[in-house]
């Protein structure tokens, strides 16, 4: 009996493998997993947990990403081999073919509302900061919208690059500066040149004579109109005065 018992006690001295505790915490949602993915935007570090994608950044190194994540999100982070299908899912998300789930815990309800609203902006289109503010029921909080978007922990995935200044200028971008913002918008098919020409002329809205509907210039609806039927407006008052109503899709003003 003595021999068997000594042996058995050794079995009880076995140690869990390295990283076991971190993996458990990751699965419980208390730590996030991360990996680097090759995407249309180049290498992107992506963190996720059981609630969804929690952060993304084009960091130069793993250490830089970890430091940024620690500061912005604060949870524990575990480097893992990504599940086989995740790379394809991320690709689809960035190409607009899929809606991943996101973990926005830790953000204020206001920031969450801003980011959820931003997710509704279709690929290839842009909206002004003021539009987000109005849509989430805080029409005066335009600056706060800008702050929430600047601190978007999941740029590219939550397309804060599709939100631009009300005067049509591109505005700043937390995911790599204004140049990165322009590049991504171009990649998504936004005609920046045309948008900026309109902006310089002070035009914010585009109307179609035949339908008497006005839109944001990038709105998909009305794009089929003939060039000679297109009119431009400086303001919604001007559009209303001309007998136009706001588009129900891009909602440039409250109908």
């Amino acid at each position: 009996m003595a021999t068997a018992m000594i042996d058995l006690k050794r079995l009880g001295d076995v140690k869990a493998p390295a990283g076991f505790a971190d993996r458990v915490l990751a699965q419980a949602g208390m730590a996030d997993s991360y990996a680097v993915f090759d995407t249309v935007l180049g290498p992107v570090y992506v963190a996720w947990n059981r609630l969804g994608v929690s952060a993304a950044m084009r960091s130069k190194s793993s250490a830089e990403f970890r430091a940024w994540f620690h500061k912005e999100v604060g949870r524990r982070l575990v480097l893992v081999d990504p599940p086989a299908d995740l790379a394809a899912k991320i690709q689809d998300q960035l190409e607009g073919a899929r809606r991943l789930r996101f973990d926005l815990r830790g953000l204020t309800p206001f920031s969450q509302a801003v980011l959820r609203k931003t997710l509704e902006i279709p690929r290839g289109q842009v909206r002004p900061y003021g539009w987000i503010a109005r849509e989430i029921g805080h029409p005066a909080a335009v600056r706060a919208v800008g702050t929430a978007l600047a601190n978007n922990p999941i740029p590219y995935f939550i397309p804060c690059h599709r939100v631009i200044r009300s005067d049509g200028l591109i505005g700043n971008y937390g995911g790599g500066g204004p140049e990165a913002k322009k590049n991504i918008l171009t990649l998504e098919g936004v005609q920046l040149r045309r948008l900026q020409e309109l902006a310089h002329a002070g035009f914010r809205y585009e109307g179609v004579r035949s339908t008497k509907v006005f839109c944001f210039p990038t709105c998909y609806h009305g794009r089929m109109a003939k060039e000679r039927n297109i009119v431009h407006f400086h303001s919604e008052q001007e559009a209303y005065a001309a007998g136009y109503r706001p588009c129900k899709h891009c909602r440039p003003a409250v109908a």
Binding site: M5, L11, P17
Partner: protein, 171 residues
């Protein structure tokens, strides 16, 4: 919620080796051991989130985790394995720990495999009593059996193990 997370983090750090060792002794291999230990902690986490603070505070963590782990193993045997991995499902690297050299690891694996061959009722009793070194009362509690039954099962289990150790047959 914040409180639960702190309790859970301490729980994992304090009991991870013990529960992994339990998984190894009950399943006989390291891959299943890690799965059992992970399932155990995740069930514990879900349970903790629903417990009132007094219950969390008064919890006898060790006995409680052992009870969960035994149930995890029993459910696996029945083929009712909970789905745990969603977005994150990486296979961990199963190299030897830093302080376990390869020889020792092989011996332990062999021993674990031998214990895992015991019939479940003897295996559970022997492992909790002599691998995990719980008291008979704690084992009885973890297994939901009377102390007398546990003692008998430990005795028979050890006898079977010794039979394999000193006997002439290898089966």
């Amino acid at each position: 919620m914040e409180g639960t997370e702190r309790v859970f983090e301490r729980l994992v750090n304090e009991h991870q080796h013990r529960i992994y060792a339990l998984g190894l002794a009950l399943t006989g291999n390291r891959h299943d051991a890690e799965e059992v230990a992970q399932d155990t902690f995740l069930r514990a986490y879900r349970a903790l989130a629903t417990y009132p603070p007094e219950r969390v505070r008064d919890l006898k963590q060790k006995a409680w985790l052992h009870r969960i782990a035994v149930n995890v193993v029993r459910n696996r045997v029945r083929g009712v394995r909970p789905r745990l991995v969603e977005l994150n499902g990486s296979e961990p690297a199963l190299g030897p720990g830093p302080e376990e050299d390869v020889m020792r690891k092989a011996e332990i694996d062999e021993l674990a495999a031998r214990v895992a061959c015991l019939p479940a009722r003897y295996r559970e009793a022997v492992v909790l009593r002599h691998v995990q070194e719980l008291s008979y009362a704690e084992v009885a509690d973890a297994l939901g059996q009377p102390v007398g039954t546990v003692k008998a099962n430990v005795h028979r289990g050890l006898k079977l193990l010794r039979g394999e150790t000193h006997g002439d047959g290898d089966d």
